[in-house]
Symmetry: C2
Subunit: 254 residues, 2 copies
């Protein structure tokens, strides 16, 4: 079988693949580990700016981001791009395509990235013999749904400033989970992409950043952001701006 040869050749080339490393329950048998290695040991590099998949393409595989950063987007009927998500290492892409066997959005690397490819049919097969793997997959899909609900709530109920703060806090959490700093990170998307995701124009995003910086809540230098105090930000997001301001003025920033 062609897959068997792949398996032996690529046995160890996907060591940071998070499906195995950080998400699976421990206590698996060696056979099971081998099966999972077989499943996920197909990694490849995607250069900044290239597509992992495009809307309309046949669905075969899911992907886990190993390193780098992706955005997904759909096109409005008039051709405008609508960003539907940003995706960091450890996160899964392609889930929306299972229902129709066709991808319904575009996935582009925002920086040079690596992904693990997971043939979906095989995931279902192996999941049948490793229930904890299947259950884990269900959690991943569910998390995606929960996360979408948050995005809908953000778009539907918040003002520009609040949406931007919500995004910053969300990214901060996700970086923290990867073991990176939760207060200093680099945005690898443009203001326009942020705006598209948040339902705002790029000028509004830029102004909101400037305002947050003037208020002493963040520091921005083009792509790099520093969150001065995450709990102030949370306060400020609640519209409880005066509280945040008092705290700020009462303490560090003169």
């Amino acid at each position: 079988m062609q897959q068997n040869s792949n398996f032996s050749r690529r046995k160890n080339n996907c060591s940071s693949c998070s499906l195995r490393e950080s998400c699976l329950p421990v206590g698996l048998e060696e056979d099971e580990i081998n099966a999972i290695n077989f499943l996920i040991n197909r990694s490849c590099k995607i250069r900044r700016g290239s597509y992992l998949y495009q809307a309309g393409m046949d669905f075969q595989s899911l992907y886990i981001v190993r390193s780098g950063f992706f955005k997904t987007y759909v096109l409005h009927e008039d051709g405008r791009e609508q960003v539907t998500g940003f995706h960091m290492p450890g996160e899964m892409l392609g889930l929306e395509a299972i229902s129709t066997d066709v991808h319904t959005c575009h996935a582009v690397a925002l920086e040079n990235s690596e992904i693990c490819k997971i043939p979906f049919t095989r995931l279902e097969e192996i999941g049948r013999v490793i229930p904890s793997l299947m259950h884990h997959f269900h959690k991943i899909m569910s998390r995606e749904i929960a996360h979408n609900h948050e995005a809908i709530a953000s778009l539907g109920g918040m003002k520009a400033r609040e949406r931007l703060i919500a995004l910053l806090l969300n990214l901060s959490n996700r970086f923290a989970k990867l073991g990176h700093s939760s207060s200093n990170f680099s945005l690898c998307m443009t203001r326009e992409e942020i705006g598209s995701y948040l339902g705002l124009k790029l000028e509004t995003v830029s102004r909101a950043f400037s305002k947050l910086q003037n208020d002493g809540l963040i520091k921005i230098n083009s792509k790099s952001v520093q969150l001065n105090n995450i709990s102030w930000l949370k306060q400020s997001k609640l519209g409880n701006y005066n509280v945040a301001k008092e705290i700020i003025e009462g303490t560090e920033l003169q």
Copy 2:
């Protein structure tokens, strides 16, 4: 076993349950049919206004709407209600809770409804021996994700009028799939709930309805809607209002 007695007692009381009826691949063995009956033969009635589940409750089961109509919503930190979806017969509720084993949103019946309860652990067990059932479940979750992407795109990139048209067309499709009229149906949510879902205030929703009616695209009578011509609506949603208007004025409406 208590479930076995349930099973025999309720053998045939879930005949319209769509997981079995309209969604499963045909060609199952009798054993498999029995297993699925066992899985889904737990129906119950939910009165208009009562909760199917609430945020914070432990997750045990998924639910399929058999009849009626539900909304799901989350609460913003300040207590405002943010509607995250409307749910019609055949659709599944509770998917967002798998990831944390806790429900993260509230589900309320908007009219007297019936649901099938599906214990999730059992779904995973039976899915292991009936792969087509499991695959079907994956498609359902995936469809939910794809649908959320649409909602995000609608909120992020459309104006009030377009969002409302998008919702009407979406409901129209879903009613059609249930075998109901795609052009005449009854909204069982309030303007405020529509507004919350679409990121608009109720007054804006009301004005948008009035405007669409004046333009001859729809007819509304409090809760009941009639779509005069679905392709005009689609045109009009594309911002191509003049085309729609020309068509309208050139034909039926004087």
